[in-house]
């Protein structure tokens, strides 16, 4: 019983972090139909920078998110204005090609500058745990998950309660309709891309502590994150959250009761079964007008 609860709790902690990482990806897809394959590479880029600063100064890596997030917001803005805006209106396939190029570029730069080695930030609490009712909660996991939940909550409030958020959602749902009420699509797109990229500032800082990484780790991450948003429904934030929790739980439960090697396979098996019955993903929606159109 304790074993089960332990696995569930760990799964949720991991899932929370996955949710944060996937949220930026699904937001960018939802607003701009851009499948940002470079999302994983951006996470790894942040992880490297965080690791470097931590190893030089000893500043807490997860706390460094406070610096990395605005930095990545700015980087995302520049990336959109300079590169991605050139393919606005093209098919999502074009965005895959372009962002894949960005991903390879980041990977190459990291290989040259940071070296092709496994890294991991190990702050003092790295191997410590809280113990609650006989269940062990690794401190790093707890801090990572708390940071993730905080950022997700903030993201939710911005999207649901502010005019900026409404403009972003409106553009995601109907871009010409949004133009007609006076929303400037290009500004909203740049903003959404910047916000989506900013989430890698937090996600990458957490990643640097929780998972050992090297430049090519981004392939592993992007496939996992794409899996999450396909399962949840492309473009849906709630879907990304649920998809991420399912991945977290699938991993820890399989690792506890089966073997670690099976854990990723089980997740993809879940995706396969869900898509058989709900091709639009768990939270991809079908409304009256979709059926009629």
């Amino acid at each position: 019983m304790t074993q089960l609860v332990q696995a569930l709790v760990l799964g949720l902690l991991i899932g929370g972090v996955y949710a944060l990482m996937a949220s930026g990806l699904t937001l960018i897809f939802g607003v701009m139909n851009i499948i940002n394959v470079a999302h994983g590479a951006l996470l790894i880029l942040v992880a490297f920078i965080t690791w470097k600063i931590w190893s030089l100064t000893g500043v807490d890596p997860i706390l460094l998110a406070v610096v990395m997030t605005p930095l990545m917001f700015g980087f995302g803005w520049l990336l959109y204005k300079g590169v991605l805006s050139r393919i606005s209106g093209s098919s999502p396939g074009m965005s895959v090609l372009l962002t894949f190029g960005i991903a390879i570029t980041i990977e190459g730069v990291l290989n040259v500058t940071a070296g092709n080695k496994f890294r991991s930030a190990t702050p003092s609490y790295f191997s410590e745990s809280y113990r609650v009712l006989g269940i062990s909660l690794p401190k790093a996991q707890v801090y990572g998950c708390l940071a993730a939940v905080l950022v997700l909550g903030l993201l939710y409030v911005v999207l649901a309660r502010t005019w900026t958020g409404r403009a972003i959602r409106a553009t995601a749902q109907n871009s010409s309709g949004a133009a007609l009420v006076g929303i400037q699509a290009s500004a909203v797109a740049a903003l959404a891309f910047a916000i989506g990229t900013a989430t890698t500032g937090v996600g990458g800082s957490i990643l640097s502590v929780l998972y050992p990484f090297f430049p090519a780790s981004h392939y592993d991450w992007i496939s996992r994150l794409l899996g999450i948003i396909v399962l949840g429904g492309m473009g849906s934030l709630a879907g990304a959250l649920i998809g991420a929790l399912i991945l977290g739980l699938a991993e820890t439960l399989t690792a506890t009761y089966g073997s670690l090697q099976w854990s990723t396979l089980i997740f993809y098996a879940v995706i396969l079964v869900v898509l058989l019955f709900r091709p639009q993903g768990l939270f991809g929606s079908r409304l009256r007008q979709d059926v009629m159109a």
Binding site: W163, R166, A167, R169, A170, Q173, N174, S176, G177, A178, A179, L180, V181, G182, I183, Q184, S285, L287, R288, Q289, D290, A293
Partner: protein, 258 residues
């Protein structure tokens, strides 16, 4: 006065509008009719800023609109209800209508005042305020689209095929709304495939063909024009469908079984 002069515009495969000159009188309901592909919807799209004209100018009471883009045109008081799918399907009716006032977002009290006014005018806004727009029927969506436009209290309302896909009852509702908006001082420019309906709502009629104005006259006159009747009304001038039934001396309630 909304003035379109010498406008050429298209979608990349040649110009749909071929040097269009058109004057839309202030305070009137002007209806553009014409065959498929004549460029009717394109006229509305260049006015609202969705499409930039390649050549020519558009101005409203002396203010150039053609380089402003959608947001700029809206700020000048010109709002468009497009042909279909203008709403945000995953949002509630309330959110949809409020987004119509996106340009007024800094003035919360004005926004609320307009919302209250619009939901009083168009009851479905209040009745279904928490339903998702994507779950409405075509006629209901059209009402909400108009409601959304009215949030900016437009001086010019552009309507693309308001009758498209509507049942007779919704149609009556929509055309009443248009008349009400006009009575309240809004200039209306509408495009209608259903020529009889369009011209009966309008004060002015324009026949568009090949991206140019072919005929322009008061709506009643256009309806009585033999050529228009022949081409678009499927019959002779001045005849409505019921009149024709009368003309063949069938009782008016023929077919009801009585």
């Amino acid at each position: 006065m909304l003035t379109i002069s010498g406008v050429f515009a298209g979608y990349g495969g040649g110009d749909v509008l071929q040097g269009l000159d058109l004057e839309v009188p202030t305070g009137a309901i002007t209806c553009i009719v014409g065959p498929n592909g004549a460029g009717k919807s394109t006229v509305l799209r260049v006015v609202s800023g969705l499409l930039k004209p390649r050549l020519g100018t558009i101005d409203l009471d002396g203010v150039r609109l053609d380089q402003l883009g959608c947001a700029g045109v809206l700020a000048k008081g010109v709002a468009q209800v497009p042909q279909s799918q203008a709403l945000f399907p995953q949002m509630t009716i309330r959110e949809n209508v409020l987004l119509g006032g996106y340009t007024l977002r800094r003035d919360k009290s004005l926004l609320n005042k307009r919302y209250d006014h619009v939901s009083e005018l168009i009851p479905i806004v209040a009745e279904r305020s928490n339903d998702k727009a994507g779950n409405l029927s075509g006629g209901q969506r059209r009402m909400v689209e108009i409601a959304r436009c009215l949030m900016v209290d437009p001086s010019v309302l552009l309507l693309d095929e308001p009758s498209l896909g509507l049942d007779p009852k919704s149609l009556t509702g929509v055309s009443q709304l248009v008349r009400d908006a006009n009575a309240a001082g809004t200039t209306v420019l509408l495009v209608e495939q259903n020529v009889r309906l369009g011209l009966s709502m309008a004060t002015h009629g324009v026949v568009l063909e090949g991206g140019r104005v072919r005929l322009e006259a008061p709506a009643g006159e256009l309806m009585a024009n033999p050529e228009v009747a022949e081409l678009y009304l499927g019959g002779h001038a001045g005849e409505s469908r019921t009149a024709r039934v009368g003309g063949t001396s069938l009782p008016a309630d023929a077919g009801t079984g009585r």
